[in-house]
Amino acid sequence: MKRLLSRPARLTRPQILVGKSLVHLLLLGLLAFQFQLGLSDQLGADPVQALLNFTGLNAIHLLLITLLVSPAAKHLPCADLMKYRRLLGLYVFVYALAHLTTYILFELQLNWPLIGSEIIKRPYITVGFAALLILAALSVTSPNSIRRRMGRRWQKLHNLIYLCAGLALLHYSWSQKVLLAEPLIYWAIAIVILLLRKDKFRPHRRPR
């Protein structure tokens, strides 16, 4: 792809900070606002389902956006976009965790034997839970100090994000009563995003 602008744009430190603050404000604000609406019964007939949809679907939206950051930084003349990737990735985890929390607190209402058996016995929930565990592993290894200590293993671990995306979409598709439904749109978008970085999946040997 040709560069859209000829001159690369650099973001100053304050600009990046302002941008990050806006991301926090928007994503945390939206999440808090939704829970507030749910608590005051303003989320339609079934606030639990509305909240499960909101958190789950937006976790997937954020995951897809996160996967778009590095192609965007590569093809747009603004490499500083990369500075937002970890932040967005962490919010994927935050939204996914809010999704599980909603399920445990409000859907199954702290019925622990049921929670345990549903996670083990229901394949679509097992798959979603596995995706969340991956997100947790990526989140706890996200600080720079840990990244440095892990060396090349860090990248290997973080490549699990592609598996996580597949599991999350499988979880979404499988939860529907019919196959022909909205998740198919997300599969299509995910495939396009993965095609953008197909070089990553090609086995290439580095010269030693």
């Binding site: 749910g38 339609g44 859907e107 019925n111 549903e118 229901r122």
Partner: protein, 334 residues
């Protein structure tokens, strides 16, 4: 003695903003461009309205019905509020989302209507729209409704017993099953126009009961809800209600009832036979392959914190139907 309070502003009915004008104002406000942010934050039930349309539809105008109140079959449990009963429906003819029916079902013409009763009967007949509410005595029945998706409601239906309708057609002795069919009208049902919107279901939607199940006095043909005519999203102008079975058995907007000697096909069974059987009796011991049926969430009102998870009961608590299934393995005939 205290003086009677008189408001300083006197308003009459004439001062109330006409609904048409109210809606017009809403449209103007929306067209100013607040719709995007507004619907994202405070959208009716989801904040993810990317695929929603934003049309204003004329509000459904429910008509009051005459009926006999009170019934031995009615539960005294807390009723699900009207706006939740009418705002959260599965009616895939209008889309697979729970808010789709409320949004799109107003396109359905429910008057004129024709419901035919035919098949293995001596006297087939057809009811027109007015006959639906005038031919039989109307009763109010407050029933629990349990969806296969593990949520439930308590709904005050108004209607008549299906048994009365069938008796009037005089079933032949060989008749053993009753088949039902929903309207097929793709012009008005967007899910029937597009396989994607309609979840890939083959329309028209069909359902069936065994004749003895259909004749059970609990089995209702409902024409109303909360004392008034059914909104289209709830299956106007007439629908089936079988309270001891999962909600999908209670077929909406019925146009045809046919008596047969063979088990009729049913829509969800055709789509996924391993998940949805012909009987679909509410049974906490038989899980859906993808989720437990042992408990359910009662949608009654209150926000997230309402502790509304309850144990599911066999036959949804309607134990009087148990004898219909004597000697049957309900794991096999699920």
């Amino acid at each position: 003695m205290s003086k009677r309070f008189t408001p300083s502003v006197k308003l009459t009915d004439n001062d109330v903003t006409d609904e048409r004008i109210y809606r017009q104002r809403r449209r103007i406000i929306k067209s100013l461009g607040f719709a995007g942010a507004g619907s994202l934050l405070a959208g009716k039930a989801s904040a993810i309205g990317w695929f929603d349309s934003d049309d204003d539809k004329p509000a459904f105008n429910a008509q009051p019905l005459d009926f006999v109140p009170g019934s031995d079959y009615s539960t005294s449990e807390k009723k699900t509020p009207y706006d939740k009963v009418t705002g959260f429906n599965n009616f895939y003819e209008f889309g697979t989302g729970k808010e789709d029916p409320a949004e799109y079902a107003s396109a359905l013409t429910t008057n004129p209507w024709s419901l035919s009763v035919d098949g293995m009967v001596e006297k087939p007949f057809t009811l027109d729209h007015d006959a639906l509410t005038s031919r039989f005595t109307m009763h109010e029945r407050i029933y629990r409704m349990r969806c296969v998706e593990a949520w439930s409601m308590v709904i005050p239906w108004v209607g008549f017993e299906l048994g009365e309708l069938i008796k009037q057609a005089r079933p032949l002795s060989g008749a053993r099953y009753v088949a039902f069919e929903t309207l097929e009208r793709p012009d008005e049902m967007r899910g029937q126009r597009s396989r994607f919107t309609g979840g890939g279901i083959d329309y028209p939607y069909v359902e069936g009961l065994r004749l003895d199940e259909a004749m059970h006095p609990l089995t209702l043909m409902a024409v109303g809800l909360y004392g008034k005519t059914l909104p289209p999203q709830n299956g106007a102008p007439i629908r089936l209600v079988v309270p001891w079975k999962y909600g999908f058995k209670s077929i909406k907007s019925v146009v045809r009832i046919t008596l047969t000697d063979k088990e009729p096909p049913t829509t969800w069974n055709r789509l996924a036979a391993n998940e949805y059987g012909f009987y679909a009796n509410v049974n906490p011991q038989v899980d859906h392959p993808r989720w437990s049926q042992a408990s359910e969430r009662r949608i009654a009102g209150g926000g997230l914190l309402s502790r509304n998870r309850i144990d599911t009961q066999l036959f949804n608590g309607y134990s009087e139907v148990a004898s219909l299934y004597d000697g049957m393995d309900l794991r096999k005939f699920f």
